[in-house]
């Protein structure tokens, strides 16, 4: 049996709305039960938002300062190298994560985001074409590719942090 709950913002909000509806319609014992359930849902919603914010912060910091600028977001304070020559990440601001799972104990989570990775490759060599390309300013090539940003999170005392992160 899976120990994790799979959700996305949309599915979560949908189930939240279904759960919320009886809150005002049922008798007291049920209200008490619903209140407990809502509290759990609320906590989960807060966790989910915190994790999503963490992901966005990672992308923002990476684009601003590279891997080193993301260290503080990791549980061990060390950011892994993402991919050779990766210079920029782009999340579709309107897109939802492909996956956002929070463990049943609420202590760990993982996510998968579709991401565009821009890599910068320096033009190497001394051939004529390369010399001419450099002379007119083509010092490096940018290549964009669609990848998946896979992250695992751990809940610390006061915040969520990234436990592991890689591009798939």
């Amino acid at each position: 049996m899976s120990k994790t709950m799979t959700t996305s913002r949309r599915s979560f909000l949908k189930s939240g709305a279904i759960v919320a509806a009886p809150v005002v319609a049922v008798a007291a014992p049920a209200v008490a039960f619903a209140a407990d359930d809502s509290k759990a849902k609320l906590l989960r919603l807060e966790d989910e938002r915190a994790i999503e914010a963490l992901g966005r912060n990672f992308v923002r910091n990476f684009n601003a300062s590279g891997t080193k600028g993301t260290s503080a977001l990791f549980a061990d304070g060390k950011a892994p190298k993402l991919a050779k020559n990766a210079s920029r990440l782009a999340l579709d601001p309107a897109a939802e994560p492909e996956l956002l799972e929070i463990a049943a104990d609420g202590a760990r989570a993982r996510s998968r985001y579709a991401v565009t990775v821009e890599s910068e490759h320096a033009l190497e060599g001394e051939g004529t074409l390369v010399q001419m390309a450099r002379l007119q300013g083509n010092t490096a090539t940018r290549v964009s590719e669609q990848r998946v940003l896979v992250a695992e999170y751990v809940k610390l005392e006061d915040r969520w942090a990234i436990a592991d992160l890689r591009l798939a």
């Binding site: 033009l123 004529t128 074409l129 390369v130 010399q131 001419m132 002379l135 007119q136 083509n138």
Partner: protein, 601 residues
């Protein structure tokens, strides 16, 4: 050393005289008060008029001058620059519809102006021209370009200007001047041009040089060319691309060190239009400003008057003597040092190399070249062959790679280590027709020992089951003439070949925004193997000396190629390949009729 005005040898190899200021000034002094000559008679309609041309900042940001002209009778004018002292000089003017073009030098200086005015809009383009601005080649004409207008008393300055843009990129024209000079002029770039001298030289070889492309409007443009690395001659003309007429100026020293200083009228023919690769809405053009890098000094100043990106390979490549070549080859000869192919992770020009074929392994073959050697081969494995020349001597072992471009047609290459000139054979063999062709590369060429030379050999292939072609051979072709093919070697490294003559390959490098940029060219050959399958070579002359060969398949738009190169790092034979695109073809075949075909060994 001065010789014929237009040398019989390629411009790359001509020993251009290092003219100094005194020699240049003396030559200008002879003609400055006469003004430029004109074979068809200059226009004198400016006589008695005055004109004040107000210039904006130049292309490099330098302040533009205000030029106050008074056109006297005959060919004299008086010029006041920025309200200073008045100077008399000879000039010549020409009309092209509502465009007025005039040009002059200034006495006791090495400079002058060429001006294009649109009489309907009063918008003007001014070229300030001067010699000795490039210290290493003082004979080279420098130019700064200013947009501006003709001041009209009591009227506001016009808001519009002529504009650099890419509208001429990809066009080609034939021009015939009133002097009788005929040229094919390709505009394959926003910043460079390629031209072929049809009458002044033997039309075998085209050349590339920096250019300006400026739109006036309504099909009218201004073009300039500076023959950097060669004579340094400057050409500027205004043209009407609908009427196919031009008026312009030619200024500079030819190979006889004679000053060419004349205005010309010309008529043209449209050669066609190839594809452009910028985004559809983009019209950005030149000029390209210089950046530090190979061919330019690190402290190059993009804001200096007249500065622009100029590819100067002849200044920078390392030329070697025969002894140096011998030592370098002995020190290091690398033949297909790494087996590259699909999935090998190769980079640069080998990223699109297909997996070498193993199908020659185990075969034996003899190739009998007409007026050339008889080559016997034993293909021991996919990478190793044994060869013997002319049926005598020891069998030698060489590393080779082969690619099967279409079924039973192979490209392979190997070095002939024992030869004095460190020869390489790059061979196409057709096991269905029995034909074979070879680009026989060699070093120790007359000008620089590390620059490759190439002999083209045609012959027949003898091997088990291969038919005798009789007297049929592969042959030189004009199928590729005027074509432009893009070669994408790896991300960020895409060039376009322009086959401007049957014996010229020019290559143009795309900028990050896919505008065509810097350009260079060299001699070569184009051989047809089968319909849609062509075997080409070019030499990167005065540049790095590489012999490039490709077997180009127009049906798959892929190629297999082999480069043969010698530098201080030694001799190498390496695979190259690209993903191809067909940018189009200029219609130039008729300009190459009644000429000797190709150059066989």
């Amino acid at each position: 050393m001065a010789g014929k005005a237009y040398p019989d040898i390629e411009n790359y190899y001509y020993n251009w005289t290092a003219l100094d200021e005194a020699a240049i000034g003396a030559a200008i002094g002879k003609f400055v008060m006469e003004g430029p000559s004109c074979a068809s008679g200059a226009d004198i309609s400016l006589s008695g008029k005055t004109m004040q041309v107000v210039c904006d900042k130049g292309t490099t940001g330098v302040d533009g001058p205000t030029l106050s002209y008074r056109f006297l009778t005959g060919n004299r004018l008086m010029l006041t620059e920025n309200g200073g002292q008045s100077t008399n000089a000879g000039y010549a003017a020409l009309k092209l519809g509502h465009l007025t073009f005039f040009a002059h030098m200034l006495p006791d200086t090495l400079r002058g102006y060429a001006v294009v005015v649109d009489d309907e809009t009063n918008v003007a383009t001014v070229f300030e021209l001067w010699f000795a601005g490039y210290a290493k080649r003082k004979r080279e004409v420098m130019r700064e370009v200013y947009q501006g207008y003709v001041h009209q008393e009591g009227k506001e300055a016009p808001a519009t200007r002529h504009a650099f843009n890419n509208r001429l990129e990809g066009a080609g024209y034939f021009w015939r001047q009133d002097t009788g000079a005929e040229t094919l002029e390709y505009y394959p770039s926003i910043a460079y041009t390629h031209w072929v001298e049809l009458t002044r030289m033997d039309r075998k070889q085209g050349y590339s040089a920096p250019a300006d492309y400026i739109e006036i409007g309504h099909g009218k443009y201004i073009y300039t060319r500076t023959e950097c690395e060669f004579s340094g001659i400057f050409t500027v003309y205004a043209m009407d691309t609908n009427a196919l007429r031009q008026v312009g100026l030619r200024l500079g020293f030819n190979a006889a060190d004679e000053l060419e200083f004349y205005v010309f009228r010309g008529t043209g023919e449209w050669l066609g239009q190839i594809a452009k690769y910028e985004d559809f809405h983009v019209t950005t053009g030149g000029p390209m400003l210089p950046r530090p890098g190979p061919g330019q000094s690190a402290n190059v100043d993009a804001t200096a008057k007249g500065a622009r990106a100029v590819y100067r390979p002849n200044e920078t490549w390392q030329k070697m003597t025969k002894a140096e070549v011998k030592a370098a080859v002995e020190e290091s000869t690398r033949v297909f040092a790494q087996r590259v192919g699909a999935g090998s992770g190769a980079a640069g020009m080998a990223a699109n190399v297909q997996t070498p074929s193993e199908r020659l392994a185990g075969k034996t073959a003899t190739i009998r070249y007409d007026n050339g050697p008889v080559m016997e081969y034993q293909f021991v494995s996919a990478d190793e062959l044994r060869w013997r020349m002319n049926g005598s001597g020891e069998w030698e072992t060489s590393r080779y790679n082969a690619w099967e471009a279409v079924d039973n047609v192979f490209l392979f290459g190997h070095i002939l280590h024992s030869t004095e000139d460190h020869e390489g054979h790059i061979v196409v063999v057709d096991f269905e027709t029995g034909k074979a062709s070879c680009y026989n590369g060699y070093l120790n060429t007359p000008y620089w020992a590390n620059e490759a030379g190439c002999r083209t050999l045609f012959g027949r292939l003898e091997s088990a089951g291969v038919p005798d072609p009789g007297i049929d051979r592969h042959d030189f072709t004009e199928d590729m003439l005027g074509r432009c093919i893009t070669y994408s070697y790896s991300p960020g490294l895409t060039s376009m070949h322009l086959y401007s003559t049957p014996q010229t390959t020019s290559w143009i490098i795309f900028t990050p925004t896919r505008a065509a940029g810097l350009e260079w060219c060299g001699s070569g050959a184009q051989v047809k193997i089968r319909d849609g399958l062509y075997f080409l070579y070019w030499i990167e002359e005065a540049c790095n000396g590489t012999l490039g060969t490709i077997l180009l398949n127009m049906r798959t738009m892929h190629d297999a190629g082999i480069g043969y190169h010698c530098g201080t790092e030694g001799l190498s034979m390496s695979p190259v390949a690209a993903l191809l695109g067909h940018a189009g073809q200029f219609d130039v075949a008729k300009y190459f009729q009644r000429r000797p075909r190709g150059k066989k060994a």
